[in-house]
């Protein structure tokens, strides 16, 4: 569904992504792990059109349509089903929870469908329903993450990009979030997951890539990478 090759992205004068290439097949959950500053978030920004690569290809194929992510506007990319849930959640603090979710459904026109999707999200995250008319800024970190994911879901994503969903959250909350991610995967949503928390990411990933200094240095299934010595030493905190 997602095919990236030879991607070179610069931020200012710095060469952040160097010849990055990877794939995500339909229905898969692919994980991109790596240390801070490796370039993982930059990758997602390039995919959703917020950053333009200097060279390389990134193509999304869904429902018979092909979108060139390196050229299309973010609006077009989002309308084609690529939904990017950015780092730090980035919810609209002064809007209510319900309004945040409504913004998620911005690109959809069918009111009935949107309402149904909202109900689904409320079923998935009952706490959001409780807080529906409160300002989103008053939610806790974990609740905000749920709101961010709920918001992304309201867009009916074909390809969901999740940037560090566990960042700054308590372990118990992280478990809940990953449960939700697993459920989404079970529902057939294709997911590209970025995580510093390599353990949890590799556990649920079908396919995983390791990024170091802007390059993909390892790839394989989630399980195989979890057993890989280098990965274990660098990212899973297992002493050799």
């Amino acid at each position: 569904m997602l095919e990236v090759s030879g991607l070179n992205v610069f931020r200012g004068a710095t060469h952040v992504l160097k010849d990055v290439a990877f794939e995500v097949a339909r229905g898969e959950l692919a994980a991109l792990i790596g240390a801070n500053g490796a370039g993982k978030s930059t990758t997602l920004l390039a995919l959703s059109g917020l950053l333009r690569p200097r060279s390389g290809q990134a193509v999304m194929r869904a429902d018979g349509q092909e979108v060139d992510l390196t050229r299309a506007s973010t609006e077009k990319i989002v309308r084609s089903g690529l939904i990017h849930c950015p780092e730090g959640r980035q919810i609209f603090q002064s809007l209510t929870v319900a309004e945040n979710l409504a913004m998620g459904g911005y690109i959809r026109t069918d009111k009935a469908e949107i309402a149904a999707a909202m109900d689904e999200v409320y079923a998935l995250f009952p706490i959001l329903k409780e807080r529906a008319s409160l300002a989103a800024g008053s939610l806790s970190g974990g609740e905000q993450m749920m709101l961010a994911i709920g918001r992304a879901l309201l867009a009916a994503p074909k390809l969901l990009l999740l940037d560090e969903p566990s960042l700054g959250l308590a372990p118990k909350v992280v478990e809940t979030i990953f449960d939700v991610i697993a459920r989404l995967k079970a529902q057939g949503v294709t997911i590209l997951l970025i995580e510093q928390n390599a353990v949890m990411a590799l556990e649920i990933a079908d396919r995983a890539y390791v990024m170091e200094n802007g390059r993909i240095v390892l790839s394989g299934t989630g399980r195989s990478l979890a057993g890989n010595d280098r990965v274990r030493q660098s990212y899973l905190g297992v002493p050799l």
Binding site: L50, E75, V78, Q90, F92, S94, L95, M103, Y106
Partner: protein, 296 residues
């Protein structure tokens, strides 16, 4: 209630209505692109002269109101796409200088076309009468201004808080990147904010002319700066705050002029800016603090 007091109240609310209209637009623009738009006041001038032109052409009044809104909206959109969009993302001060430059271009272009002389401008005769309300009376002009402003503001609040466009504007104002990721066409949303804000400022120009009777190409400077003061009073970035700030400023100004001896009434503008400086120091987030981020 004494006639004098009532008169001052009406004056204050009427002046406050003008300031509120301009301040709301100013605040919408600041909220969505973090720009102190120095050229906003000149839209008041554009509205006033458009009104004059239409009066001369014999356009009926209700239509004048509609056209002024449209002209203001278009002017605002042109200014945004030509002058401000190219420098979006530039440092704060660069943006401000650019708005200053745009203001100068507008003012001097108007001077070139219209010359600096004052033009007279009157509302139709029936507007200039006084209406009696249970023992006191007030100019119909003032009452109409107050009433129409309330209507316009209500429409505005409806748009901003109850429509998809309004939610998109608020989302974009809060977090542009996240709004883009929701598929919001950010450029068009920003244009819409400019259109609405500018339309309101243009209508304020219509009212301004009717209330003060005289207009000239440089009239925009003072309302523009006062709109900024009103926003600061009410809390920068908050539309409701801007509105309240506008009314408070109008009432305060009238109070100031009314209370002080005659010789000092010429200081009314200076007083307003002194007030600004005091507020910026004492309570920079404004008197009505909602969730406001300090972008300064």
């Amino acid at each position: 209630m004494s006639q004098y007091f009532f008169q001052q109240l009406v004056n204050g609310l009427s002046l406050g209505s003008l300031y509120a209209l301009v301040a709301i637009g100013f605040s919408m623009i600041y909220g969505i692109v973090r720009l102190i738009n120095f050229a906003h006041g000149d839209l008041v001038m554009i509205g006033a002269f458009s009104t004059l032109a239409m009066i001369t052409l014999g356009v009926p009044w209700p239509l004048i109101l509609v056209f002024v809104l449209a002209i203001g909206a278009m002017a605002g959109m042109v200014i945004e796409s030509v002058a401000f969009r190219p420098i979006r993302g530039a440092p704060q001060v660069t943006g401000f200088i650019a708005t200053l430059a745009v203001s100068i271009v507008i003012q001097n272009s108007a001077l070139m076309l219209l010359t600096g002389q004052q033009r007279n401008f009157v509302f139709p005769a029936f507007m200039r009468q006084r209406i009696s309300l249970g023992g006191v009376n007030a100019a119909l002009t003032d009452l109409v201004i107050i009433g129409l402003t309330l209507v316009l503001i209500t429409c505005l609040f409806f748009i901003v808080y109850r429509t998809r466009l309004g939610t998109a504007m608020r989302a974009t104002a809060e977090n542009l990147m996240a709004a883009r990721l929701m598929g919001v066409a950010v450029n068009r949303t920003i244009l819409a904010a400019f259109a609405i804000g500018s339309a309101l400022a243009a209508v304020a120009g219509l009212f301004w002319g009717g209330k003060f009777g005289q207009i000239d190409p440089l009239l925009g400077f003072v309302p523009g700066l006062k709109a900024f003061v009103a926003c600061v009073i009410g809390g920068v970035g908050s539309i409701g705050g801007a509105m309240l700030g506008g009314y408070i400023l109008g009432l305060a100004e009238v109070l100031f002029v009314g209370l002080l001896p005659q010789e000092l009434s010429g200081y009314r503008d200076a007083f307003v800016f002194l007030l600004l400086i005091v507020i910026l120091l004492v309570k920079p987030s404004g008197l009505f603090v909602r969730h406001v981020e300090d972008r300064a």
